[in-house]
């Protein structure tokens, strides 16, 4: 039987998003402004990396070449990663990290709640599991975006700068290519336009509460879903993959 390459690509996109963002967020461990936030960020990272295992194990099974989640996470190079560019953006300050998280969470929750009804049973099961964690993450990131956006003059300015910086990286979440449209027509994934409608609704509501203004520009970066990445991803992989590259098959 021929491997389902569209499905494989889609699962890499999901798993690489959670893997790269999970790794990024884990970089905060021990550096957050207060202990509670440090723990919260580490826990969010843990959830994302746990979800990565479900997505990438499934991707490996679909590919049928004997690669599991570890092999896919640690033995691929930059051009084989399929995450969106947003998640590889550097952490910046605490407000930058939260804004990136909120923009991601709003998308991830919207797509997961629809994937829970996927025609593919295993995707539906993974999504039903992950959506509850995503809801919890979204609740927290939205709350903090409002508190910091509608906070002091300085926190407001930082959150507006963060929004301006990340906004051009949000369009990629909804830019459907032939892989997406083919999977949508098979009922495996939702129509990304529908996901966009929910994301717009959430983002508009929360940013209004946060007294932040959506930037005017319409330019949107893209390429990550097809394997064209910014320089940042290579630096992430250098650190994340070091051990398996230096000591292949090391385990403990």
């Amino acid at each position: 039987m021929k491997a389902d390459s569209d499905l494989f690509e889609f699962l890499l996109r999901m798993g690489d998003n959670t893997l790269v963002l999970g790794h990024r967020v884990s970089e905060w461990c021990g550096h957050s402004p207060v202990l509670e936030e440090d723990i919260a960020l580490a826990n969010v990272a843990l959830d994302l990396i746990g979800q990565t295992r479900m997505w990438l194990d499934f991707a490996g099974d679909v590919e049928g070449k004997g690669r599991d989640a570890d092999a896919l996470a640690f033995r691929r190079d930059v051009w084989d990663f399929r995450n969106i560019l947003l998640v590889e953006r550097p952490n910046g300050n605490f407000g930058d990290t939260l804004m990136r998280q909120f923009l991601f969470d709003a998308w991830y929750h919207a797509i997961l709640s629809r994937l829970a009804g996927s025609s593919d049973d295993r995707i539906a099961a993974i999504a039903a599991k992950a959506v509850k964690e995503a809801a919890y993450h979204l609740e927290r990131s939205a709350d903090l975006v409002v508190r910091l956006g509608d906070g002091t003059t300085e926190s407001h300015a930082k959150m507006q700068a963060a929004l301006d910086d990340f906004w051009p990286y949000t369009g990629e979440m909804f830019a459907a290519d032939t892989i997406d449209t083919s999977l949508t027509s098979r009922g495996v994934i939702p129509n990304l336009a529908e996901v966009r409608d929910e994301w717009d609704e959430t983002v508009n509501r929360v940013l209004a509460d946060a007294t932040l203004e959506i930037p005017d520009g319409t330019y949107q970066h893209k390429g990550g879903k097809q394997g064209t990445h910014t320089e940042h991803l290579g630096h992430i992989l250098t650190e994340m993959q070091f051990l398996q590259r230096a000591y292949p098959d090391a385990s403990w």
Binding site: V44, L46, I49
Partner: protein, 164 residues
Amino acid sequence: MMQKHKPSTEQIREWLDAVPDPEIPVISLVDLGVIRDIEWQGDRLRVTVTPTYSGCPATGIINLDIETALRDRGIRNIEIVKTLSPAWTTDWISEKGREKMLAYGVVPPQTGTACTSNSPAPEVKCPRCNSENTKLVSQFGSTPCKSSYCCKECLEPFDYFKCI
């Protein structure tokens, strides 16, 4: 000890009800609601387990503890399989487990309050003085399954089991 005849699945469930959850050791794996099925397939015992949180570091330990407990009872041929569906929620925690958790000082999740992105904050009572005058300190706590609260009456800091 050699296994002369196969113990019943009810018996095995009872044994697993004595295996503590690695993170809240006063409740058992059965109380936690992660044991989904126990079934003999010929001479092989298949135990179906569901994870709590996707990234819960205790998942591997839970599987190991199940295997160890059953081996101690003389069962050698064990298969542990994972199932994701239906997804675990805090509503799977048993009534007995909730009572033990509260006595231990961790406030159990309120049934039917599984989190949605716009759910109202639950009223969480202090496990020490029973006051409702408490506040959420952080949505995340000492382990992935708990959030941090503080009682404004007696000033006790305490954990509340997150609802998902």
